[in-house]
């Protein structure tokens, strides 16, 4: 049972900190409102009123997030490969180059389709 006491203490501390900072913030923090801050989400899309027919919405955040995931996964594979590079030898090198080439193709597609331009 004593084993779990530190975890319990940590949980109490964490909850206490969260409750304390959230409840103190309205009294101590500065209030400088502007238009963007009053939006429901700060992602560039007005949730209401809906434009006729649903309208179009910008995908730039989504594309950035997707690109991040692509490179994230690339790194996940690169690290173990780098650690075991000596053991895997030429086979590992060739496979990794093939993998990076396929990621590069996706990247080239995004780049040519102006996925990297913010505006």
């Amino acid at each position: 049972m004593e084993l779990y006491v530190p975890i319990l203490v940590l949980a109490v501390l964490a909850a206490g900190f969260a409750i304390f900072s959230v409840s103190i913030a309205p009294f101590t923090g500065p209030k400088r409102w502007n238009r963007a801050k009053l939006d429901a989400y700060e992602c560039g899309i007005d949730p209401t009123p809906q434009p006729v027919g649903g309208g179009r919405f910008p995908l730039k955040y989504m594309i950035t997030a997707m690109l991040f995931i692509v490179f994230d996964i690339e790194i996940i594979f690169l690290y173990p490969w780098a650690v075991a590079f000596d053991k895997l030898g030429l086979f590992g090198l060739v496979e990794m180059v093939l993998f990076i080439v396929t990621v590069l193709v996706a990247y080239a597609y995004v780049w040519r389709r102006k996925g990297l331009d913010w505006d």
């Binding site: 027919g53 179009r56 053991k87 193709v105 597609y109 389709r113």
Partner: protein, 516 residues
């Protein structure tokens, strides 16, 4: 970290699949770098050449280098007789489907434009086309090839996603009736993602039981692991949900009519043929290779699923008023007929005749389906394809040739002698009888009779009703569509009159069953 050996990959065995994936990656590069006006003319030969090449590589393996007898890629992918047969079938079906996809502008000019908006009109006037369709189709086909061959649940899951994700997208790209198409895509995506989650969860359960995701390791673990049966039972059920969803078997069939109706018809043709073939390949592999010795537990459930699928498909098809929905329910019924073969594992743990029958059935059903959907694309109204059955009334009097070929395809679906469908059904049902599932075959025969009713009803409607005054027009087919219809009709006749060579080939493919 002491003994990491570099794995061996049999590139020669995997070549038919790698070629398709390679061409898909090239297609993405074409999208990225080729000027807009050239893209289509690069994609068409690239896509067709990749599929022909893949088919040729399958032939080389079958007739020159010999069918491999052990799994490739460290046991992850099994290129065996059934795999090679189904690879050939998928490559051929994808080839004819691509002829249909090429053919005309069945696809939206700009997928991002809101339906009915000024943007859409601008894109159509500018003559844009969404040429990403070609690489997406190749990725989906590559996924199908891997799906049938995967000998490992993890690879199977990856293949399932590689196959499905492009299809979700392709479903939403119809040029006309775009809202229906987008609705179909969203429904397919949500339900498909849900079923993938079931599959994944089942995989985790089975891993918990067997300590491995390899199909042969699961088989080896069956008699050796004690006290963990709940994991195995749950895992089997959940894997079954994921796979039965993909073939559209009956409690999981609800997506099929909606998606088949909404998707662009060439994509429907690809899904109804290629995806069904691939999903049956995977289903057989999971239930025969991994869980073949567990059949006392899964067979009763599969009995119920098969009966429900056959009956639901045949009966619900009667009430349909849309030709594509009717063909979707017919596809559900056919999935049920095929399931009787899956259940006929026989006295031994597996049954060669049933496997051979299923392989042959998948081939003949796939090719006839593509032909039928090719004809659906040709019967047009002002607003696109004339889907409603009443519009097809009297078509036989106005274009007897077209209606005649369509009637022939419907008879093949119904399994009338002298069509390929007859031998397909005969092969599966006779193997099922030999495998001891006679009651199931009786249900199958009764549902076939019910199904024959609505096929014949369409034929009667086409030939013995008066044509509507403002009936649909039959567009003159392009070379692509015409050749698809011709090839499908020829295959349906040849395989119906002279099926021995293909039956022998299916027998040979099934003779060694699956490698483990």
């Amino acid at each position: 970290m002491n003994d990491i050996a570099a794995p061996t990959i049999e590139y020669g065995q995997l070549a038919p699949m790698l070629l398709v994936f390679g061409a898909a990656v090239l297609g993405v590069l074409v999208e990225a770098f080729a000027p807009r006006y050239l893209r289509r003319s690069i994609h068409i030969p690239l896509t067709l050449a990749a599929l022909v090449g893949s088919f040729a590589l399958v032939l080389v393996q079958v007739f020159v280098s010999g069918v491999p007898t052990s799994p490739a890629a460290m046991g992850a992918v099994a290129v065996d007789g059934p795999t090679l047969f189904l690879w050939g079938v998928i490559a051929a079906l994808a080839f004819v489907s691509v002829l249909l996809i090429n053919d005309e502008d069945n696809f939206v000019a700009q997928a991002a434009a809101v339906p009915g908006s000024a943007d859409e009109e601008d894109a159509e006037i500018a003559g844009f086309s969404q040429t990403e369709v070609y690489p997406l189709v190749l990725f989906a086909v590559g996924g199908m090839l891997l799906f049938t061959a995967s000998n490992d649940l993890l690879i199977m899951f990856v293949a399932l996603e590689v196959m499905s994700l492009p299809l979700y997208l392709l479903c939403g790209l119809a040029r006309r009736r775009r809202l229906l198409s987008q609705e179909a895509a969203v429904k397919y995506f949500l339900l498909g993602a849900f079923s993938s989650a079931f599959f994944l969860f089942g995989m985790a359960m089975v891993y918990g039981f067997a300590g491995s995701v390899g199909l042969s390791d699961i088989n080896a673990a069956l008699p050796n692991v004690g006290g963990q049966e709940p994991l195995l039972v749950l895992g089997t059920a959940l894997l079954g949900v994921g796979l039965l969803f993909k073939i559209g078997a009956a409690p999981f069939q609800a997506w099929k009519p909606d998606v088949y109706q909404g998707a662009p018809t060439p994509i429907t043709a690809l899904m109804a043929s290629g995806t069904l073939v691939a999903a049956f390949g995977a289903l057989l592999r999971v239930f025969w290779v991994a869980l073949g010795n567990f059949d006392w537990d899964w067979r009763p459930v599969m009995w119920g699923v098969a009966i429900l699928t056959m009956v639901a498909g045949a009966i619900l098809a009667i009430t349909q008023t849309d030709i594509k929905r009717m063909l979707a329910y017919s596809s559900i019924a056919h999935a049920g007929f095929l399931l009787t073969g899956v259940i006929a594992t026989g006295a031994a743990e597996q049954n060669r005749d049933a496997l051979s029958g299923i392989l042959f059935y998948l081939l003949v059903y796939g090719i006839t389906t593509v032909g039928a959907f090719a004809i659906v694309t040709m019967v047009r109204d002002a607003g696109g394809e004339a889907g409603h059955l009443s519009r097809w009334a009297g078509l036989g009097k106005r274009s007897p040739m077209l209606a005649g070929v369509f009637a022939f395809f419907l008879l093949a679906f119904a399994g009338i002698p002298l069509t390929s469908g007859f031998f397909g059904k005969y092969a599966v049902f006779s193997a099922a009888v030999a495998g001891g599932v006679l009651p199931l075959v009786l249900v199958g025969v009764v549902s076939s009779a019910i199904a024959a009713f609505f096929y014949v009803r369409v034929i009667v409607l086409m030939f013995f009703s008066d044509p509507a005054a403002d009936g649909p027009t039959v567009v003159g087919p392009s070379v692509g569509t015409a050749s698809v219809v011709a090839v499908a009709a020829a295959a349906t006749v040849v395989l119906g009159v002279f099926p021995e060579p293909m039956l022998d080939l299916a027998d040979k493919a099934a003779s060694a069953l699956f490698v483990r």
